[in-house]
Symmetry: C2
């Protein structure tokens, strides 16, 4: 079979205005970016208000392993399949970060015959959204140091500034820097650093804002640091919120592209899945729901992290009611979760599959616990044996859910029609009774404990010294109703990335908490979290370039 | 009269495909960005090769003063006027830098009824070109520190790395920084800094490259630093040139917008006018010349800096043959050049005008010296008196050139028709015999001296210790044929910004020289040059925002 890139290049893309027309949008309601990308205008978005909403399908997965699960591929394939069986379906996924493409080879949006195009542009500047986030973030940074330079009227404690700078680049040398050197004209010396753009609170805000007014309000609430007497100072105190909103005005408009089968896809926003919530924007999901029968979306990492945040943060804030959860697994990944080494994945190992199903079963239970009907999508690989697949089917049947083999990678939407039929049956069967894991009113520490014990199945969470007091201070300041965003390894239910399967009774150490008032959540950090990656010894950048036709090579 | 912003908002813009059609471009040959901006595709550019070229008109000015001259306004008004008198004319100007808009209020592209639209977008992200430059520049920076981190096989002397980072923001705290703090995992500690994006050599390269292959070759030649034994290390040595080219692929395509009178304008690239050459891209000018009878373009600052670099750097490299130089002056600016204080500009002062004409006369002589026919455009202000205008006319007549009053600010193209007629008469009269100031073969120091004595009328140039030896080293390394780019104050022929009029016999101290092999010039720095601005006490960002219609306010 051809590579993802070859398939993507062979795609017969329709003009983006034709894709927009399928959503009921006129050429005046979109802002084209070239011939195969467009933004849906703010005016068009406003015109959608009050329309009935379609059904929301969440695609999530077992804990990731090096074997790969194919969550995005399944999201795209399911979207195409729903269209094939007569539903107007739109896919909603995140945008890719520019920087990491120059380290490892870039990620396609999907794979095989289930992809979103144009692939190269989506991995480079796309429509400039991430550059706008970078600019808005760094404008605030510049205004902080400028405020101090001109007399520091707000009384910022320069040791207690928490707002850093960002760059969409893997650049480890910027993690920890000293700025303001060179004398009086350059300001005050300060130790600070850069994160990668997707880790910016501005990115999380862009993805959680419902309109421009909400965007500005959230930006204004960003806490950038503290005064000597520990009073928080906000972006609004610095009068930065208006200009940041102006910089993000266009970026807040969702991006429309298409699948290989010419179905609409909204690709918008890309917050980190660890220190942020890891889903595409609320504004894109809302728009898609008002223009489609079905919206298929995905959440970052495995269901313990991604689905939990999607449900407890994004759906809570946006008032979304998902109808079905699709839990993606592969025989190979199940075997790895069952302790099989990567080198041995080629051989049939039914016992390994059965052991790995413990991980799957835990996610099924958790998703059912949110009141969602569940279907397991077995993303088919050619090496899967009938006995292995049967072991999975039997396991799922015991848990009251169906496991359906999907062959969208090789066959496109046609390969996922059976999955689509089951999704429709569950969605239209009225079985969904979605509720969040915890109420807004629950105290912050109890929210953390609830996630750790109910989702991760830890015996308890353990707070670093002073941490619970910190949470109480925030509760006293009126932030107690915020949801919690846990940052921990995606490879395990525990905080030990090597502990696959379905561990229980472990302890979750919470090392640090951060208050993201603008995004509207409290981050609880459990383990090492890298917010500025580095480049490898032989970065992909060394082999990226243009061929004689001006096409980009080496990116994939 | 309405403000520039009000006039711009009232503009009846044509769909950008209609503007493209006027240039003979089909909808498939442009890449739209929204409905009023587009890029001209690489394929369309390739198709223009071999077509006959129109006539090139340079708009330049006397030395700038706080009174304002209106060079861009005249460029736009002249373009509109040429179209009115039956010539197919295209305007070519630079893009605006994002960062400075958050300090002082942003600059319109033109003014009054001679503007290019859309104004807000052109002052914000526009089509993302500057973000692409920022990314390409910083990718190289990251690859340098990454190369050192992984063992420094090229033997870079970390004290001799000259390549910094860039950000399109006014952020003085980044001028001088230490990176790589925080221990082994973050690399080696180094002192470095950030410049504003327009000061990047990558920006100069984007504007001087003739196609993608030339772009990559120039990027590869960038010298990023030296080994311990002083051998230069290039971007190509780091294998960064291909990925940088991929990042700049779209940015190299010129941006098409329109004037208020719906005439085509290419707005592309924006290198600094001091440490770089300060003109729009060669690729835009070349494309415009192949699609128009006339191309009206401008160069940064006054004619001593801007026109000299346009002619000796851009025209030399691109093989361009300008037909006419339009020298813009205002009565008010002439008076300031004649020593009149800003507060006294409202009163008639014929003697002041006559004194200021010395500055004008010097520029006329210089331009004639390049073999260009010259016309003086008097950009009309309502307070100008007939006696003052007559003094200017008489002065110009003595120097053998016409001074023509142009009222495009108030009247649009109709107000500049007489100027357009004179431009056509000069251009089609065959009087141009353009030649550069110095040949490629002249030694570098002699090139600097030639500019200082012949253009600035200094008695001589004075080299800082070791500087001439440095130039000789570069000549020995094969860089002796490069042109020279002087960085000095734009306010005077001398290096003293307060010395208006037409000083002569002064000494030009050359403090530093820099080798920009990628851009293809040697920079000679004469005076303080700021490559990263700061924000003022009350930055414009504090009042920028959106109104209830989502329109940007406070930017102008």
């Amino acid at each position: 079979m051809d590579t993802d890139l070859q398939i993507a290049r062979q795609a017969r893309k329709l003009p983006i205005a034709d894709i927009a027309a399928r959503l009921g949008l006129t050429p005046a309601e979109i802002l084209p970016y070239g011939h195969d990308k467009a933004k849906i205008s703010h005016a068009a978005l406003a015109g959608l208000q009050g329309r009935p909403m379609g059904r929301l399908v969440l695609v999530t997965a077992i804990n990731p392993t090096p074997a790969g699960e194919g969550k995005t591929t399944t999201t795209v394939g399911l979207g195409d399949a729903l269209n094939r069986i007569g539903k107007r379906a739109t896919v909603c996924i995140r945008e890719a970060s520019l920087g990491p493409n120059f380290g490892m080879k870039g990620g396609a949006a999907g794979g095989g015959r289930a992809q979103i195009v144009p692939m190269e542009e989506m991995n480079l500047h796309f429509t400039g959204d991430f550059h706008a986030v970078t600019s808005a973030h760094n404008l605030l940074s510049a205004m902080i140091d400028n405020h101090i330079y001109w007399g520091n009227a707000l009384g910022l404690d320069t040791r207690r500034i928490t707002w850093r700078r960002v760059m969409d680049m893997n650049d480890r040398a910027l993690r920890d820097v000293v700025t303001g050197l060179g004398g009086v004209a350059n300001g005050h010396v300060r130790q600070t650093g850069f994160d990668i753009t997707v880790a910016s609170e501005v990115m999380a805000i862009l993805c959680l804002a419902t309109d421009l007014a909400d965007l500005q309000a959230r930006l204004g609430r960003i806490v950038i640091g503290y005064t000597a007497d520990r009073r928080p100072v906000t972006a609004r105190d610095l009068r930065a919120d208006g200009a940041m909103t102006a910089l993000l005005r266009d970026a807040l408009q969702p991006n429309l592209v298409q699948t290989l089968e010419n179905n609409p896809a909204l690709v918008h926003g890309g917050p980190f899945g660890n220190i942020a919530h890891g889903c595409n924007s609320i504004i894109a999901t809302n728009a898609a729901l008002r223009m489609s029968d079905y919206v298929v979306t995905e959440a970052g990492f495995g269901a313990d992290l991604g689905a939990e945040k999607f449900l407890d943060i994004k759906c809570r804030m946006a008032g979304l009611q998902p109808s079905v959860a699709v839990l993606v697994a592969t025989i190979r990944a199940l075997k790895m979760n069952g302790g099989v080494a990567k080198a041995d994945l080629g051989a049939e190992d039914v016992a390994g599959v059965r052991r790995g199903c413990a991980n799957l079963g835990r996610h099924i239970e958790n998703l059912l616990g949110f009141g969602l009907p569940v279907v397991v999508a077995l993303n088919h690989f050619s090496g899967d044996t009938e006995a292995e697949v049967e072991a999975l089917r039997a396991y799922c049947a015991e848990h009251g859910v169906k496991a359906i083999t999907a062959r969208h990678w090789a066959e496109g939407g046609a390969g996922a029609e059976e999955l689509a039929q089951e999704v429709v049956a569950l969605a239209e069967g009225g079985g969904a009774d979605f509720h969040t894991l915890y109420p807004d009113s629950m105290p912050l520490w109890q929210k953390i404990e609830t996630i750790c014990t109910r989702i991760y199945r830890a015996s308890h969470a353990e707070a670093a010294p002073g941490l619970r007091q910190q949470l109480e201070t925030w509760e006293a300041a009126g932030h107690g109703r915020l949801p919690v965003c846990i940052a921990k390894t995606q490879y395990s239910f525990s905080t030990d990335p090597t502990l696959r399967g379905a561990p229980e009774g472990h302890i979750v150490p919470v090392r640090e908490v951060r208050l993201n008032v603008g995004a509207g959540f409290v981050v609880a950090i459990c383990g090492e979290i890298m917010t500025m990656p580095g480049l490898p010894r032989n970065p992909a950048a060394e082999t990226i370039g243009l061929d004689e036709d001006g096409q980009i090579v080496g990116l994939f």
